[in-house]
Every structure is written in structure tokens, then in C-alpha cells.
């Protein structure tokens, strides 16, 4: 499905490009000193190429959404302001894209100059017209049947650099696809790609400079996890960081015996990047086996940690471990949110992190220093954090079962949070008062087989693509979007839902917060108060993050639910 589509590009798309070109031209004139011909040349170049400089300065072209979380700081914040508290009630559905897939639609689309790129699960890359939803091309990819993702054959989106779109696949390949034709540029098995052993990709890759960074899933199968940077041009591996420290690597002493060999440490979601520090940040998943830590005595680095890596070399600069020697499956599978805030009276380059373990953390992202840690949901597994943020564990799984808050799905999970630099608030998709009974059972390792040590029992099912019934008692837990002030850890508001949520959160420069939930609503809240301003029924659980883009100056908001993508704009 490639190779001859260039001539199919409709007039509409060229019009979009023209509109953006005029904007760039205007900016060039305002800045002055730039010749008209040169500006035009630059403008044409911009449309042909998504340079990393464009991605870094994405907020100057808010009509586009050039990287998974909107910008490399992963704030999932849109500078667009057309949709406001006053008019949000006039949002209407503009178009729907129905995937040929019954999997959960977890991808956040990218939008580049009127073209949307997303993934139909598991691994069909799709380019659509962002104004109408009409499909330009599809690059279909069928991952190996050997792939064994723990929790759905899903994909969370793509990255773009230059004229190339990058997609990680369920069977551990990274694909480079021509953004205009849908033709394959290269396809590399990252690190050899061993899907039969549990390796694979579900995340949207992160582009930093000339590299595409990915990390593998497989923590339920006893993999040894990694983060790898791939040369965007050649597909060759530039560097690799092992998320589980092996012999000769710092941290290996936190694994008893050879337990590091099956130590897990998945990467489920996209990392972040600070261009001033040249550090890229990634959250690392659970140690293996998940629920029985007997065979892996020690802290088990770098499971359940955030690692700060030199973006050029992959060298570890610092790490912070949220849950040492985890036995609750508290993956640190959250997107690191980078925010520059005032903390204790002075400006800090901070990192905001609501962890699956139920705790909200504020770290200094230059050094990894622990600044603040408070529960954002009910937590009973530890007795407090020490001055360095290390928890004092008081409970563990047992053969008889131990009741733990938060439950196995955590206080939050992979769903994208958001930070608004306008309100200064951190918005967290939350599972409130949820619990699991953790059971410990013996476990032996067999490659390709589940390596977990018994499953926790929980009254709430994992999400599925279709509509779900909710007959739960209130005391079995509920969902919420919560707003916290990262300067103090103080909760500002909570928007309650009867059912839990697998939806990310988007905040906007017009002080709106968009999110959804398992109930099948997509809604807008007042970013300052949490008041519900608008809602639409999308008919199935939302299990992705909202994003926003504009075409011809008209702001749109996109969300997936079930196996479809919905795009809204104001009624005209």
C-alpha cells in the first residue's frame, strides 16, 4: 500500500500547507531582516520536513502536535485558545475514524500541517486528513504471531522526524515509513527482536535530535528490559541502556544471584527530554517476577525507577527508585512530566510524577533530588517516605493474601497526566480507593511463559475496547481526575466518576482540562475548579490521551474510545 500515492494528495492538504506557510511568512516579516525568497524557501522546507528544532519549539506552532505528549517536556498542554469555558458547550463531532480492529485504541495521534498520523492496533500506520478523517494511506504491518504482550495487542502512537514516521511494533521491530507515500524506508529488529521471549514495543517512540528512542515491554515474561536509541536515518542502534543492571553495571548489586537475568523492567510509555540538560527521562516497569520477590533479594535497580540518560550516549546520569523491591506490580510506567516551577521560594527544573504506587512525587530533574512525596490516593503499603523519598514498606504479598491499597492497577497507570503552566496545576487520572488482594505463589522461569508469581485479586476488571457494565459498590473504588499543586503537594480539586478511568488528560491555554473514562464519556472541565463544562458520549471506554490541533485557525480536540477516534470542533 505504498509508493504511488504522492499524486493522490488532495487540494485540501495543499491549502493547509499554504495556510501554514503564510503564517511562517508573517512571522518572518515581523522578525525582519529575512528576505522574502528565503522565508518562502524556509516555509516550503518546513512543510517537507519536521526538523527536531520544530519539535523542540512546538509551542510556536500550536496547530500541530509533533510528538506523543505535545512537546518533549510531556506536559500534554495545548497553547490553543479558541475553545474556552464560555463556548465549549458548542463542541460538536466533526468526524470519526473507525479502526479495523477490536483492540483498545490507545494511540495519541500526531498532526503535522493538516495530516494526522496514528496507529490502528496492533500495527497499521495510518495517515488521514485531519479536517475530514479521510485516509490518505495505510501502512499495514502484521507482527509475528510469536508476540506475547501481557495486556492487549495495543500501540500508543508514532513519532516523526524529517519526512519519516516511526512506529515500534509488537514483535520488537522499529519501522521507518515515508510520511508522504506510506512506503517503508527501513525495518529493523531492535536488539535482534525476540518476541517469543516477550520483547516488543507498544509505546510511541521519542525523537531526540537525530535518534529515535524506544524501550521494550515484556516484564511479565522475565525479559531483561532496555531503552535503545536508533539512528533515524540508518536504523542502526546508537546506544542502549539496560533497565536491569547486569554484571559490571552500577546497580547489579541490588539483584541477588543471577536474578537480574530475568529482571523485567519494561518500558511501556514514551519518555521526555530536557534540551538544556540534554537528558532524556524514562519510567521503568516492574521487576520480574511481579508478585513474588523471594528470588530477587535487593532493591532491583532500575525497576520501578525513573532514569535520566545522556541523550547522546545513553549514559545514566541519575536515577530515582519509587518502589524498591516491588512486589505489587507498581510499574513506574508513567510519562515524566517536566515543569519549571517555584519550589520553596526558588525556581526549580522539576519533574512531576504521580506513580502507580499511589504517591505523587516532585523531583529535581537536574540531579534527581527528591523534593516532595505525598499520597494522591489511599495508600497502605508503606509507613512513610524518608528524606530521600524511600518508602518504609509495611506490607507484602503472602500465601494467604494481603489487602493492599492502591490495587494492582495502581493509583494511576500508563495514562498521560497533564501540567498547565497557566494554572500551575498537575492533572492526574486517578483510581480512588481501589485495592487488591496480593497472593504470593512459587514461580519458575521458562522463556516465553508468564513469570509473575500468582495474580492479585481485584474487583475491577481490566479495560476492554467495548462498552462495559458497572455494577460495583461505591466502596470498591471509583475514578477521578485530580488537580494537585506541585509546589505544595496540595490537592486543589477532584472530579469524581462512578467508574475508574484509563484516559489521559489534556490541558489547554484557555484553562480547560479534557479527559474521559471507562464509562464512555469524553468531557471538559474547568482547569481551575474541576467543574464539568461539557461532555459527550463516545460509547466505550476511553483508553488514550486527548490531544488538540488546529486547521485554518479552527481548534480541534481528538480522543479515541473503544476502537474509534473522535474529533471535535466548535459548531460554526
Amino acid at each position: 500500500m505504498s509508493g504511488s500515492k504522492r499524486s493522490d494528495m488532495p487540494a485540501r492538504t495543499r491549502k493547509h500547507e499554504g495556510a501554514t506557510g503564510r503564517k511562517v511568512l508573517l512571522m518572518g516579516c515581523v522578525r525582519g531582516g529575512v528576505g522574502l525568497a528565503m522565508v518562502l524557501a524556509v516555509a516550503v522546507g518546513l512543510h517537507a520536513q519536521v526538523s527536531f528544532d520544530r519539535i523542540l519549539r512546538g509551542s510556536t506552532e500550536p496547530q500541530n502536535w509533533l510528538t506523543h505528549s505535545g512537546d518533549v517536556k510531556s506536559q500534554r498542554y495545548s497553547p490553543l485558545t479558541e475553545i474556552t469555558a464560555a463556548n465549549v458547550r458548542n463542541l460538536e463531532l466533526r468526524w470519526v475514524f473507525q479502526a479495523q480492529s477490536l483492540e483498545k485504541f490507545e494511540a495519541t495521534p500526531l498532526v503535522v500541517d493538516g495530516i494526522m498520523y496514528t496507529v490502528q492496533a496492533p500495527n497499521d500506520l495510518v495517515a488521514l486528513d485531519a479536517a475530514t478523517g479521510r485516509v490518505f494511506w495505510t501502512y499495514p504491518y502484521s507482527p509475528s504471531t510469536q508476540a506475547r504482550p501481557c495486556c492487549g495487542r495495543v500501540n500508543r502512537g508514532v513519532a516523526i522526524l524529517g519526512n519519516t514516521v516511526f512506529m515500534g511494533t509488537l514483535d520488537g521491530h522499529l519501522l521507518a515509513v515515508d510520511a508522504k507515500t506510506g512506503g517503508l524506508v527501513w525495518n529493523v529488529p531492535v536488539g535482534g527482536a525476540r518476541p517469543e521471549a516477550g520483547y516488543g514495543f507498544t509505546l510511541a517512540p521519542l525523537v531526540v535530535k537525530d535518534k529515535v528512542i524506544v524501550g521494550s515491554v515484556g516484564g511479565e515474561f522475565g525479559i531483561r528490559g532496555f531503552i535503545a536509541a536508533i539512528d533515524a536515518r540508518t536504523g542502526k542502534e546508537a546506544w542502549r541502556f539496560n533497565t536491569i543492571a547486569g554484571p559490571g553495571e552500577r546497580g547489579n548489586e541490588t539483584w541477588s544471584g543471577n536474578s537480574w537475568q530475568t529482571g523485567g523492567g519494561s518500558i511501556w510509555v514514551t519518555g521526555s527530554y530536557d534540551p538544556d540538560l540534554n537528558l532524556t527521562y524514562w519510567g521503568v516497569g516492574n521487576p520480574g517476577p511481579d508478585w513474588n520477590g523471594d528470588r530477587r533479594a535487593g532493591d532491583n535497580l532500575y525497576s520501578e525507577s525513573v532514569v535520566a540518560l545522556d541523550a547522546d550516549t545513553g549514559q545514566l546520569k541519575w536515577h530515582f527508585q519509587f518502589t524498591p523491591h516491588d512486589e505489587f506490580d507498581y510499574d513506574s510506567t508513567q510519562i515524566p512530566v517536566l515543569a519549571d516551577i517555584q519550589f520553596e521560594g526558588r525556581p526549580r527544573k522539576a519533574m512531576l510524577w504521580a506513580n502507580r504506587n499511589g504517591m505523587l512525587y516532585v523531583l529535581d530533574r537536574t540531579t534527581g533530588q527528591f523534593l516532595l512525596g505525598k499520597p494522591f490516593v489511599k495508600v497502605n503499603w508503606h509507613g512513610g517516605l524518608d528524606g530521600k523519598g524511600r518508602p518504609t514498606k509495611v506490607l507484602a504479598p503472602t500465601a494467604e493474601g494481603t489487602l493492599i491499597y492502591p490495587g494492582n492497577q495502581g493509583g494511576t497507570n500508563w495514562y498521560s497526566p497533564s501540567y498547565s503552566p497557566r494554572t500551575g496545576l498537575f492533572y492526574i487520572p486517578s483510581w480512588m480507593d481501589t485495592f487488591s488482594t496480593y497472593i504470593k505463589r512459587p514461580v519458575e522461569f521458562t522463556e516465553g511463559q508468564r513469570f509473575t508469581g500468582a495474580a492479585p485479586l481485584m474487583p475491577i476488571r481490566m479495560v476492554q475496547a467495548g462498552a462495559m457494565l458497572n455494577r460495583r459498590l461505591p466502596e470498591e473504588g471509583y475514578g477521578a481526575v485530580q488537580a494537585f499543586d506541585p509546589k505544595t503537594g496540595e490537592k486543589k480539586w477532584e472530579y469524581k466518576m462512578t467508574d475508574v478511568t484509563d484516559s489521559g488528560v489534556l490541558s489547554t491555554a484557555s484553562d480547560l482540562v479534557f479527559s474521559g473514562g471507562r464509562e464512555g464519556y469524553f468531557f471538559a472541565l474547568d482547569a481551575a475548579t474541576g467543574a464539568l463544562l461539557w461532555r459527550a458520549s463516545v460509547g466505550a471506554p476511553v483508553s488514550a490521551g486527548p490531544m488538540s490541533f488546529a486547521i485554518g485557525g479552527r481548534q480541534h480536540v481528538a480522543i479515541t474510545a473503544g476502537s474509534s477516534l473522535f474529533v471535535y470542533a466548535l459548531r460554526q
Binding site: 494467604e400 493474601g401 488482594t437 495474580a455 455494577r471 466518576m497
Partner: protein, 253 residues
Amino acid sequence: MNARIGVLALLTVLASGALLAQQGKYLPGEIEGGGRLYQANCTGCHGPEGDGVAAVNFSNGRFRRASSDEDLLRIIITGIPGTPMPPGNFSGSQASTIVAYLRSMAAGGGANASGDAARGRLIFEGKGQCQSCHAVAGVGSRLAPGLTEIGAFRRVVEIRTSLIEPDAEIRPENRTVRAVTRDGATITGRLLNQDTFTLQLLDAQEQLRLLEKSNLREFSLLKTSPMPSYRDKLSAPELADLVGYLASLRGRP
């Protein structure tokens, strides 16, 4: 390796085997979860009492090819080639809950219905007034769970417990909601679904209704069953007959 070490190693293996064999301790939640999987996937051949396949009876702990939990786990996942027992589409943890349920069946003992189903039917339709809430083959009310196939899914011991202690276990799909509207009217029914803004239920008039929470003064999910206990309403023989009737309900002929 000298002989002494060899014996020690053998003893260690035997000891660990014995340890595994003792792992009959399963949690109520595991047993319940396994029971649901069993009812959905296994009763078609094995029956609710686990005695549907010749020479196998889960209620008596009688297996043809398995003795340890590990044996059962393996068979549930991989099936038995050359027999009608197929590989199950279960994760290891799901399969282990089925093992938990199988073990609980044996621990509960084989409980065959001893009552007379024909007499039990008369009680069901008469003195017991069961049809005022339950339906069998389309006869009766829809307010409570339909019982047309109850004998195909629930064990005799479970049916008896439900009759004697209705509040002991109320499954989420059988919860009752009580709502009071702003004008003071009370509505009760089976909770079918709910969200932040609405309740969906089957009300006492057997009408499907959606209630906007904003129009309600209050609402709550009841933690007790609307069904009375039959412990004192029926004699022991009558109860046995009623259980016998319900256990005989295996769907429409």
C-alpha cells in the same frame, strides 16, 4: 555426587513435592473467580458438579490423569491430546483459579440433589412463591435472576446456600438498587449498569428504566438480598425437593 548427597537431593525433591501438594489453601476470591471461569468454560462437558465426564468427578476429587495442582494446571492450559479435553485459552493465573475452584468442589464434598424434583417444582410454583421474582422457561417474574439453566451453572451446595442464606453471596450482576426521586417516589429494581450521571435498572414493574442521578434525592445499592431465607419457611424435606428441582433445570429441552 556420592550416594548420600543423592539421597538428600531426592528427599529435597520429595519434600518440595509434598509442599506443593499441600497448597490446597486458596482464597475465597480465587475460588469464586475460578468458579466463574469453570461455569463459563467447563460445565458444558464436566457439568456443574464436575461429574459429567466418565471416570472423572471433581466433587469427589477424582481425576483420571492428575493428582497435583501442577498436573491440573497443565491440563487446563494444554488440554489432553487425543481426548475431547481441549487446550484452554487461559493465562496461568486464570488457570490457577480454576484449580482453586476444583479443589474447593472436592473440599465441599459431592452433594447430589437428594430431593424429588417433581415435588420441588410444586413448591417452587406454590408455597415457595418463587415465581413472584424468578422465571423458569419464561414463566414467572424477571425481577430476580432467571433460573431456566441454574442447574447447569450452579452446584447443588451453592443452590442450597442461596436458599438458606440469601445474603451470603450476592453477585454484582444481582445487586438491587433503591432510589428516591425528588418528588418522593421510591424506585427499586435490579441494577443493570451505572455511571456518573445515570442508573440503569429493571424496576419492580419489569420496565427498563434510566434514572438521571440529578433527578434523585438519594439512591443506594443494597447489600442484602430481597429474597427471604427459606430456612424456616420450608421443612428440610421440602427444601431438599426444591433444591432437587432447581438442580434439574438445565435449560430448555
